[in-house]
Structure formats: C-alpha cells, structure tokens
Symmetry: C2
Amino acid sequence: MTDSDEASYADLGNAGLEHLLPVVHGMGVRFTESEPGRCVAVVPIEGNGNHFGAMYAGVLFTVGEVLGGGLAISTFDSSAYYPLVKGLDIRFLKPATTDITATASIDPDTVAKVTAMAEENGKADFVLEAELTDTNGVVVARTVGDYQLRSIGR
Amino acid sequence: MTDSDEASYADLGNAGLEHLLPVVHGMGVRFTESEPGRCVAVVPIEGNGNHFGAMYAGVLFTVGEVLGGGLAISTFDSSAYYPLVKGLDIRFLKPATTDITATASIDPDTVAKVTAMAEENGKADFVLEAELTDTNGVVVARTVGDYQLRSIGR
C-alpha cells in the first residue's frame, strides 16, 4: 500500500456515495481515510441539525453505517464481493453539535477469516464497531453493525 | 378523541418534520396516523434508493426512528415533555424496493407507567418496537428504539 493507493480507496468510496447513494451524499457524508482494515468518514453539522441544535439521529446512523461499505472496498476484493448491512445497533451518548467523524477498524486475523469464509461459501458475516466523535474528541455515539460480504453473481 | 383530533396530531408531527428536521422532511417521510399509543409513518422509495435498487438503510432507520417523536406528541403531554432517542437497533430482513410504512404502538398500561414516572422524576424511559412493511405487506425491517421522555425546562 502507498499513500496514493489509500487516497484512491477513499476517492472510490466517495464516488460510490455520490453516484450510488444520493441520500448519503446529500447529507455531506464523505470518506477521509480508507485502507485495509480501517475506514473513517465525516459528516457536517450544517444542514443536518434537529430542533435541539444537534445532529439528527439518522445522520449519525448513516455516517457510522457507511463505514461497512467503505471498509469492504479497501479490505476485501471488491471485484468479487459486495457488502450488505444486516442490522445495526446505535447508542447515542452525547448531543452531536459539531461536524462528526466516524472511525471503524477490524483486525488482520478477522479479515483473513472473513476472506477465507467468503471464498469457501460465497458469503461471510462480519461485525464492525464504530466510534463517532465530535471536533472536541468527545464520543457522541457508538455503533455495532452486522454486515455480510457476498460473492458477486454467485 | 375524534377523527379530526387524530388528523391534527399527524399534521402537527408533519409540521415538526418540515420545520425542525429538514433532513427527514427531505427524504419525504411523513406521518399518516398518530393517536395515543400508536403512530404510523411512510417514506417513498423515490429518491431514497441505493445501488441494489433498494431503499438505503439510513432511510429505513429514519422512518422507524421518527415514530418515537410522533407517538410522544399524540400520547404524552407535549407542552410538558419532549422525547429523546437514546439508542436504536434495526434489523434488515428483506430488500425494501417500494414505498415503506412504519408502524409502532405501546399499550395503555405502559403509557400510564411512563406518564406517572415522568411526572414524578421529570423523565421516563420507554421502548418502542416498530415494524416496517412494503406495499405488499412484507416486513422488510424491525426496529427497537430506546427513548426518553423529558420534562421541558426541569
């Protein structure tokens, strides 16, 4: 991996948001880091607030949830597999009143296991835990997402 | 309760979405029924799809989540209390390829307990389970939301 490869994964993810997930793109969600096993996305508070002056819950859900797709692009063979979200649990811990950064990672052992299972069965489940922080570093929410990697056309 | 009262709760909820939750309003989410203990919201597939031709997960989250607010308006004293969402778990069961309807209700005993607790403590937690169905009646997702009713200015 080089820095330019990492940048291209984030760019690829952002192109996906723009063209394939217009609702998400419209919120201003974008990937800022994407490398094997790790993904970071941000979303602005501008336009995404609720009546308490805090970011709407569904926007926080979204910036956490998209990490599953962003991480799948940089971590697994996206020419052979696509990710699905099966479920997600989100806990709101503090009001989110600034731009928000969501970060998630999975360890190399899990990546190897998921890759092997997908090669054998054409699909494999993986869990992604994300932490959502504001610009002061305060954790405003946590997500636990259940995803499935599926073989394209199998 | 008369039919016109019920209509006005849904109208009140929709005015809230339009003016206080622009992101949600922008998705086309609107309340169609709102009465004490029960709330129904709908969201169109138009403009909310993903690259599989199905509704984006965050939109399904949203149409389920807003029921907590819509139900609070019609069920509790909204001049004295406002609702907060503390967490939500959503399970995606089938692809959502049509307009989606989300329905949730809580029983009168629970309403009475939550009301009494809010009056005593200035706040009270309640759980709302929602079912999301497509236009063929297929359940595409289920949510379990943890909400809190809080006294205004207390």
